[in-house]
């Protein structure tokens, strides 16, 4: 008995500590809620633009009859997109992992799908397709990249020795896939699906912003934007958040049930790197094909759809519109002006968001207690369709340039912070304790260990931030400021200027991909010099 007591005691102390930690999370949320309620009641933010939670709930009660059709429509688009997108993603992931060459060929398509700002392609989807299809496509695109990279990573991380056992009995690719790789990839795929679920909701809502259809939370949100009723807007925004959060939770539960593990919430921002080819010619050829493939698919898609050339621009049609027509100069001028307005905002917002995230992530190393309270909040924002909540920020911040900055900062800050903080928490204790053992202070420790160790995560966060920042700016422009690419897109929609809609879409995707590639290029240079591998 005497030997048993201390063990039992530590156990109870541990569980008490866990209880306290859980309790402190709940306490932080409650504090936040109370704080919000007070601010709302006193109408402290922009003369009531941030209503109290009680007011929002009251309004939801009044509007209750409006919600079901909108929620169902969004769920329908998101659900169908989730199924299709993930089925394609898993099949593609298996293909890429089994035949690495295909992955190199598809790199262009993969990066384009990752980097494209959904709002930019939403109008062309709406004019090319009808009914639910645009929503399903955007929801599917939102799922594709996450699940595809999770599948590839999962398959590639299969225990080598297990694969060897299958090989040693004469099993080749197919049997290895069935008996070893697919099964061991399941936890990775599930954690991919978990991130994909809220993405699907977000994709559907963004497609709804682009028009087409009477129902959907996005439609409801846009429709209510002009009426200046903050409590209703917040109700819609919060319902979207809850749906996305529930989708996330559902797959977390499935993952825990099936695998007994729950993985960290990080969003993959890079296609897993296939092995480099030695031959220069082959590399060049693969690169060219991979670059050309997205354009080819774009062309093929339109050819199959048989959409009239007036509405649907092929790459050649777009070239004609931008360079060969009498009106080309005017179009190019408009595009250049819009770019001139959008790009600086994107850059500044991204820089501020990332530096803020980096600074706070470093603080998390120095002051772990602060972060323990903050991290749950930050994690929830991962599942929040933050960009879909832009209308709420319009309400609070008005329609000036500060709005754009705030939106860009907020959509880049949270994912970047979560990525970097998790990266930093993975730095081994021993590595941190070595300088400590030689008497280094906290800042020296940061400089010697934490900052260098967090470089891969800083880059991963930047890769993640690039498309989000552009998306944030464009949504703000579309909905509020009346400037830049987002506004040009919205205007052209009104003028039925199909050439311009396509131009803006394609240009914004290209810019996003270009930024992404620049980040990747810098990352490769910096990390390979330090013998580090890029973080997922």
């Amino acid at each position: 008995m005497a030997t048993k007591t201390p063990a039992a005691k530590t156990e109870s102390v541990l569980s008490l500590r866990q209880k306290l930690a859980r309790y402190s999370t709940v306490r932080n949320w409650l504090l936040l809620l109370v704080f919000w309620e007070i601010i709302g009641q006193l109408r402290l933010v922009a003369d009531g633009a941030l209503p109290a939670p009680s007011a929002i709930l009251a309004r939801m009660w009044v509007d209750w009859a409006d919600y079901p059709p909108h929620i169902w429509a969004t769920l329908e688009g998101a659900g169908a997109g989730f199924l299709i997108g993930n089925a394609v993603a898993i099949a593609a992931g298996v293909l890429f992992a089994t035949f690495p060459l295909t992955q190199r060929l598809a790199r262009g398509v993969n990066v384009a799908l990752f980097a494209l700002p959904p709002i930019a392609v939403s109008p062309i989807l709406v004019i090319t397709f009808s009914d639910m299809t645009p929503r399903i496509i955007l929801a599917a695109i939102g799922c594709y990249f996450v699940t595809m990279s999770a599948t590839v990573t999962g398959i590639q991380q299969t225990d080598r020795r297990i694969v060897d056992v299958v090989h040693a009995y004469g099993g080749r690719q197919w049997k290895t896939l069935i008996y070893a790789q697919m099964r061991s990839a399941i936890p990775a795929i599930l954690s991919g699906l978990r991130v994909a679920a809220p993405n699907a909701v977000l994709g559907s809502i963004l497609a709804e912003f682009g028009g087409g259809g009477r129902f959907g939370l996005g439609v409801y949100l846009i429709g209510s934007l002009g009426r200046g009723e903050p409590d209703r807007l917040w109700g819609i925004g919060l319902s979207a958040t809850v749906i996305a959060g529930l989708a996330y939770l559902l797959f977390s539960l499935i993952a825990t049930r099936l695998t007994g593990t729950s993985k960290a919430v990080t969003v993959p921002a890079s296609p897993p790197a296939p092995k480099a080819e030695k031959s220069m010619v082959l590399t060049l050829a693969l690169g060219t094909v991979s670059f050309a493939l997205p354009f080819l698919l774009w062309w093929l898609m339109l050819a199959i759809m048989g959409t009239p050339a007036m509405i649907a621009k092929t790459p050649v049609g777009l070239f004609d519109y931008l360079f060969m027509m009498p009106s080309s100069l005017v179009s190019l001028g408009k595009l250049a002006t819009a770019l001139g307005q959008t790009l600086p905002m994107t850059m500044v917002g991204m820089a501020v968001g990332l530096s803020f995230a980096f600074a706070l992530a470093l603080c998390s190393v120095l002051y772990t207690a602060i972060i323990r309270g903050f991290m749950p909040v930050a994690l929830v924002t991962q599942t929040m369709p933050l960009v879909a909540l832009t209308p709420l920020l319009v309400l609070i911040l008005g329609r000036g340039p500060s709005l754009i900055l705030w939106i860009t900062v907020s959509v880049t800050f949270f994912p970047a912070f979560v990525t970097m903080a998790q990266g930093l928490s993975m730095v081994s204790r021993a590595a941190i304790e070595v300088p400590k053992a030689y008497g280094a202070g906290p800042f020296r420790q940061l400089w010697l260990v934490s900052i260098p160790a967090s470089l891969p995560y800083l880059f991963a966060a930047t890769r993640l931030a690039v498309p989000r920042a552009l998306l944030g700016v464009m949504i703000a422009e579309w909905l509020a400021t009346g400037k830049g690419l987002g506004n040009l897109l919205n205007q052209s929609r009104g003028y039925l200027d199909y050439g311009m809609i396509w131009s803006v879409s394609v240009v914004s995707v290209l810019i996003s991909v270009l930024f992404y590639q620049i980040v990747v290029a810098i990352e490769q240079r910096v990390l390979s010099k330090r013998g580090m591998a890029p973080a997922q």
């Binding site: 060897d164 056992v165 040693a168 009995y169 004469g170 070893a180 099964r183």
Partner: protein, 256 residues
Amino acid sequence: MNAEHGITINQVSRSFTGRGTLVQALSDVSLDCPEGSFTALIGPSGCGKSTLLRLALGLDAPDSGQVLISGMTPQAAAKSGKTGVAFQDAALMPWRTVEDNILLPLDVLGRKRSAYHDEVAKLVKLVGLDGFEKALPGELSGGMRQRAAIARALVTRPEILFLDEPFGALDQILRRQMNVELQRIWMESNATTLLVTHGIDEAIFLADRVVVMQSKPGRISRIIDVPFDRPRTPDLFAHPTFHALEKEIAEALDGH
């Protein structure tokens, strides 16, 4: 002697390029393991013993030379189910029960599980895992996992058995117990066996002959016959001849 049901390794060479330098993992290696023999491969890290085993398993192909397993190419032998293998650290699939793990080779070879029902029950008993058929690898101790891996290696009734440091992850005490058990299991199976190991005492205790390898380039430097009769008992570890052999092998490893 060309072994009909043994292992024939004929002037095999294999090199790798890593970080711009050429590493000669195996240089002109020849080895014959006659039917029913037990051969131990021992050598320092990087001497190519694992490479040799991978070649024999058909997991890798030689640059030159030939490997024959039961008179067939390694791949053909693997596909016909003539070989069995146990790797270091068990390499069990964590999501399969002990029984399902033992049955894995049959799944890969596309054989009917039902035909092996009795065989599996016998093997489970043989390796002393009765009662744990439905356990997952995570619930077993290291030694039990290793025994499951050995049962898996034996399930196809292989003519040829490859053991790649099967007890490398176990502690010395458990390892000796496992050596005694492996000998018992092996004597019942009659398979031609090739054991890759780091342990000198393990090699002597189990094998008919010990093949000592050297690195840079990977080659066979000496073959030492082990004269003891079977079954060998744990007392053997204290036998003077055993110590003399240990000394001889240690010196061979040092390059004398």
